[in-house]
């Protein structure tokens, strides 16, 4: 119950599950809606997925919860509270999750004057956990739809629905030369 592990449950047939962790419930809800809309619009209609929205980890114990294929931690750069929440939640995730099944989403970078967390803080956080970081303004519908598209694709790969590509493959592809891993420096 206390620590999330990636492989402790059987995968579902033709399904995948994403877990969105963040303090701002309304925005997570909108992102999940956008992802579901995206799923309907894509060609692979046999694929359906579940979104679990959580404010923080650890999750309450639930035997019926399916295996989680991808965790996205959502940080609002305008709120130190949301960063604190994410940092505390990260402790309840097993290390093996970070092999491509975790991502960070930072929102609010566009309004520099409202940011109380520096971009570098989240960049460092993502680098520490070797996970990809996306910047997105979740409040704008267009940007939300774009991020939803990427997340659905990422989810498909992490759940193993794309033949030949694994989560770890994707992770090494996403690691761009601009953000090299510390060992590479």
């Amino acid at each position: 119950m206390s620590v999330l592990r990636p492989l402790d449950k059987q995968p579902g047939l033709n399904t995948a599950t994403i877990l969105l962790v963040g303090t701002e419930d309304a925005l997570l809800q909108q992102l999940a809606d956008a992802m579901l809309k995206e799923d309907c619009a894509s060609e692979l209609k046999i694929f359906s997925f579940f979104s679990h929205l959580a404010r923080s980890l650890p999750l309450p114990s639930d035997v019926n919860r399916p295996r989680i294929d991808l965790i996205m931690f959502v940080v609002n750069l305008h709120s130190k509270y949301s960063l604190q929440n994410v940092e505390e939640s990260l402790r309840h995730v097993d290390a093996t999750f970070f092999l491509g099944k975790v991502g960070f989403l930072a929102m609010g970078a566009g309004q520099e004057s409202h940011c109380s967390i520096h971009r570098n803080t989240v960049t460092k956080l993502a680098n520490t956990y070797r996970s990809p970081l996306f910047f997105c303004d979740l409040e704008r519908e267009g940007f939300r739809a774009t991020v939803a598209q990427r997340l659905v694709r990422m989810l498909q790969i992490c759940a193993g629905h794309v033949p030949g590509v694994s989560a770890l493959n994707l992770l090494s592809l996403l690691r761009s030369s601009e953000n090299p891993a510390p060992e590479d420096l």
Partner: protein
């Protein structure tokens, strides 16, 4: 046409039509009527009750505003309107546009052992006026009664050598059955003690104190000070809010979206409701906290923590509707519930200015 050419023409025009009305009074009428938006013109003029229905019917309200104002000023001149009538019109305008002023709240108290006298409105008005006129030579006071035993008082201040300035008046709204009076901010700070004294003495009170409460929304200030904000309002609609709540959940209940922290969410909703209630909050625009406390730090050897003097700091929260914004913080996930009591005590304590010192 140069400005110098226009002015003599206007003076001539007015002096031809009415020998009684002074140019300054005519100008005061013109400026006051000009302030009124066209959409409210009829309503406000009717409330003023100086020009009769018949007279108003004869005016063309569809013309351009400048010409309409000229016609109305001429009508006032014909009816021998005085500066006091103009002041009353100004009061009516301000009553309709009360949010254009920032209101302070004063609380009066009776001395120990004083009886509660029967309040006489006329005696209060004459006493108030006398006190001000005795102290200042040139001051103009106007009264307009309002509902709930309230009186709106307009004061135009002058000096020993100058007539009252009609364009910088102070308004006082006094609820006679209560010890509370609301005043618009006074540009001449030195007159505030005199105003307080006049209010106190005329209403048979002993002491007056300015509360740490200020807002543009007079009705909200009333609600806070008279403790009327936590009443659920007249129409019986206890069923509809419940329906609305469950609808909100249904729309989002796509079965493929699961909320893990439902229990926590419900707790937050419950705590928010316990703190803020179901009613709509009174409207304030800001809360200000003046801190004079020593700096507290978790780190040992922090330079700021070593200072002996208190650290001075001013924190101001602003919002178009502060209390509703605070109410929505925890449900939106921006803050933890329950909120700090410093924020939630605002309507209860009737303060939005706080001074915080170390105990």
């Amino acid at each position: 046409m140069k400005k110098a050419d226009i002015v003599p023409n206007i003076v001539k025009q007015y002096s031809n039509h009415a020998k009684e009305m002074d140019e300054t009074v005519a100008e005061f009428f013109k400026r006051t009527i000009l302030k009124i938006p066209m959409t409210e013109m009829m309503t406000i003029l009717k409330a003023w009750d100086f020009l009769s229905e018949k007279q108003l019917q004869n005016v063309n309200f569809r013309q351009r505003k400048e010409s309409l104002v000229q016609d109305l000023v001429l009508l006032c001149e014909k009816k021998r309107a005085s500066v006091h009538d103009a002041a009353l019109l100004d009061i009516v305008y301000t009553q309709f546009h009360r949010h254009r002023k920032v209101w302070d709240v004063f609380q009066m108290s009776k001395g120990p052992g004083e009886d509660i006298d029967l309040f006489d409105m006329e005696q209060f008005k004459s006493s108030f006026k006398k006190i001000l006129q005795r102290a200042l030579k040139n001051v103009m006071v106007s009264f307009r009664d309002a509902e709930e035993n309230a009186v709106w008082i307009r004061i135009a201040w002058g000096t020993q050598y100058r007539k009252p300035n009609q364009y910088k008046p102070v308004y006082v709204v006094y609820y006679s059955q209560t010890p509370y009076a609301f005043t618009s901010s006074c540009p001449l700070r030195s007159n505030i003690p005199l105003l307080g004294q006049a209010l106190t003495v005329a209403s048979n009170h002993h002491k007056i104190v300015k509360m740490d409460l200020r807002s543009r929304y007079l009705d909200s200030l009333k609600a806070i000070v008279f403790k009327q904000y936590n009443q659920t309002f007249e129409t019986y609609n206890s069923t509809t809010p419940l329906q609305e709540k469950s609808l909100e959940l249904d729309i989002h209940m796509d079965s493929r979206i699961i909320h893990e922290n439902r229990i926590e969410k419900e707790r937050v909703q419950r705590v928010t409701q316990e703190t803020f209630g179901d009613y709509s909050q009174p409207r304030l625009e800001f809360a200000q906290y003046k801190l004079e406390t020593k700096f507290k730090s978790d780190f040992n050897g922090d330079i700021l923590a070593e200072r002996k003097e208190p650290l001075r700091c001013l924190i101001k929260f602003s919002s178009p509707h502060l209390l509703e914004a605070l109410k929505s913080l925890a449900p939106a996930g921006i803050a933890d519930a329950p909120l700090s009591p410093l924020l939630t005590c605002i309507p209860n304590k009737g303060m939005n200015y706080f001074k915080i010192k170390d105990k």
